[in-house]
């Protein structure tokens, strides 16, 4: 491994998600100086955020301090900062506090943000599910609804116990299933005086089936299983607008609710446009087949931020395996250039299959071969894969403990309302 003193070639990686982490780690064995920049101080394991939102896991189980990831990588350092601009000619990025960071290679891996597709009210009244703070906010909000309805049952008439999830992809399916299980197994027992049978979980999807990127029979399987645990699935249904107390559908129907989780899609982080790079309709930065920006080949773009294409010309899916593979490819490209330009093979996406869990003992899995697995076998596969992908022994061990607890007791121990900030001393209740 190259010592710090030999490292001269500066690689700045923007974003500590799946793509950025993989690129930075794969550069451990070459004489470069890697700086990984993220606005948060931790990597977030987004595939399990829905379990934080439904009180099955702690927020700390799915986050990992970025600085800790690089303790043992002597050529890398992590800093917490927000990239707000760049001087592509001078090869520097600008941070929110005015500092600049010089690079020889820039790897943009800033990911995606919630896309509202222009639907009014989504950003004001809906919840995204991109960060641990998002997930905890959903958890607190839903628990508060049940508390309020216990104090005043008339609120149920106003839809306070109606939880709406928009978007029938894996995130939406998992979120809706998680809500249904939280209500059926936990909140029903927690709130004996509330008529929990009147609680609703509604999953809205614009297309005519769930899990549009999966085989059709898996979408139908998910729909059946969600129905069995009480989720109302509305297919072919579009959201027209969202208010503080309702979701109005395009066909004129109104669902009274104070809770909308918007899992209908993401768009690229606006970083690409902010840096003046060419972006596509979704804000993704246009890259060549080596994930480089054509006009600035020293800039690589990976993960959800890149309009990267597979060899057949199709856009890569915005999923974790694609991000990880792109991160590895970016590191290879940089290494090849350092060695003197011997080209690597072009980026080629290896589809690892897709999976979504619906609830207890139930998941749908589609293998790259097209084979499908459902039910308990799929669910066990889902559990194992997510455990393996988590970073760090501690997080894995905590997740195993919590999953075992949830499975054996039907409980969700993290159903805690922890206030945002310390409260002033007050009368009643422990201070």
């Amino acid at each position: 491994m190259a010592g710090r003193s030999l490292a001269r070639h500066r690689v700045v990686v923007v974003g500590a998600g799946f793509a950025g982490l993989r690129a930075a780690r794969d550069l451990a064995d070459v004489a470069v100086e890697v700086t990984i920049v993220d606005a948060r101080n931790h990597h977030t394991f987004q595939p399990l955020l829905y379990q934080v939102a439904t009180a099955g896991l702690d927020a700390d189980d799915v986050c990992y301090a970025t600085r800790g990831i690089f303790h043992r990588q002597s050529n890398a350092r992590a800093i917490r900062a927000q990239v707000v601009g760049a001087d592509l000619g001078a090869r520097t990025v600008e941070l929110a506090d005015g500092a600049v960071l010089a690079y020889d290679h820039l790897v943009l891996a800033a990911g995606g943000v919630t896309a509202d597709f222009g639907v009014p009210g989504v950003l004001e009244h809906g919840f995204g599910l991109k960060s641990a703070a998002d997930a905890v906010a959903i958890r607190t909000h839903v628990l508060e609804r049940f508390e309020r309805c216990e104090r005043d049952p008339s609120r149920i008439d106003d839809g306070e116990l109606t939880l709406v999830v928009a978007g029938g992809g894996p995130t939406g399916v998992e979120m809706a299933g998680g809500f249904a299980e939280l209500i059926n197994h936990v909140l029903r027992r927690d709130f004996p005086s509330v008529d929990v049978n009147r609680a609703r979980v509604v999953l809205i999807e614009a297309a005519d089936r769930l899990l549009g990127t999966f085989a059709p029979k898996l979408g139908r399987s998910a729909e059946r299983k969600l129905g069995r645990i009480g989720v109302e699935v509305l297919l072919g249904t579009q959201v027209d607008r969202v208010t503080a107390s309702s979701v109005v559908l395009a066909d004129g129907r109104t669902i009274d609710t104070g809770t909308l989780v918007w899992a209908a899609g993401i768009k690229a982080n606006p970083l690409g446009a902010a840096l003046g790079l060419e972006v596509d309709r979704g804000g993704r930065i246009v890259v060549d087949r080596d994930l480089r920006v054509a006009s600035h080949p020293e800039i690589l773009v990976i993960g959800d931020l890149a309009a990267a294409r597979d060899i057949d010309g199709s856009l890569l899916p915005q999923v974790a395996p694609a991000a990880i593979q792109a991160g590895a490819h970016a590191a290879k490209v940089i290494k090849a250039e350092l060695r003197g330009g011997r080209p690597v093979g072009r980026f080629r996406y290896r589809d690892k299959g897709s999976m979504a869990t619906i609830g207890r003992n139930s998941a749908v899995v589609e293998l790259p071969s097209g084979q499908t697995v459902t039910g308990l076998a799929g669910w066990v596969a889902w559990l194992c894969l997510h455990l393996v992908m988590l970073i760090g022994f501690r997080n894995r061990a905590n997740v195993v403990v919590n999953w075992a607890w949830n499975y054996l007791t039907y409980d969700r121990a993290s159903r805690l309302i922890i206030e945002d900030r310390p409260l002033p001393p007050r009368v009643g209740g422990p201070g």
Copy 2:
């Protein structure tokens, strides 16, 4: 166990801390209807909050949903509400939303709040350590200081890396030791570009020794060990006032700091005065030797809210074992009255000894016999006792995982800055 239909005698317990929980649980086997009221939806295991504040444990590890505690106790229910008043003649308590709750026996167990002892600035600028939200606020604040000093090292000159703890009792000693270990083992590695040697942990105590309620040699032992891990201990030192950027001492010295944890003491929850009951100087409700209010013997007061006295006339210490024992006694008094007034023996506090941990492999323990244990043996005893006292298998298992991780790796995995609320989409960093 009495079925719910037979239960008529209404017991309202205010506060789900150690005292209130014990009283409510000990009433499981009699024909009463127990309602436990707390402003939070969870019991907080306060003795381990300092570990949440120093990133060693997750907030969710030390909290337990109160409703879950009573799932299996058919004569009890938990509600989340704030008690704001009472009509002692009509035997009702009033909740913040205007609802009233009728009782036949009222058990007040609302605990304590941070006491500023009239020192200006403590409540505005200092952190208390009474809730999970307090602990997470301290964690976030301290990590932010290090992040800021990495971006701008001149901030160290302003005391940004100086952490002050006021109060040399067990909480203050554990807090200061936890800070020192977090800095020495974790933040030093996390922030290689920050001159962490300039970070200071200062423990201020007004008396001339630490751990005033322990044997003097244990206070000296704690002082030595804290010194060894880098804590500056200022004895015989009083805080005159606190500002946003300093702690001013009574002798005129000023410590530049933006971080003060106030562990100098608690006072009773103002509930006693609000209900018009007789209180002592510290706001504690005056009770008879059976923990009853003399003018209203149907009201019992337990835990930190009670001015309860031991048989020798001394006030009970405001510690968990005293609260738990008082809770058990209150349940006995109620049961005796239900049986027809056969009196129980007067409340008698059984001292279980005291302990405080200083850091890795180090704690001080004083047994009721006056024997003392320090070092590794004391530390192991401390770990075991706290594990046993935690509620619930899941929390215990998670704490074991985290302690093992912290011990073996010198890491603190929860050093996460999780924002209070979802952020708007922004440029740079994953959205």
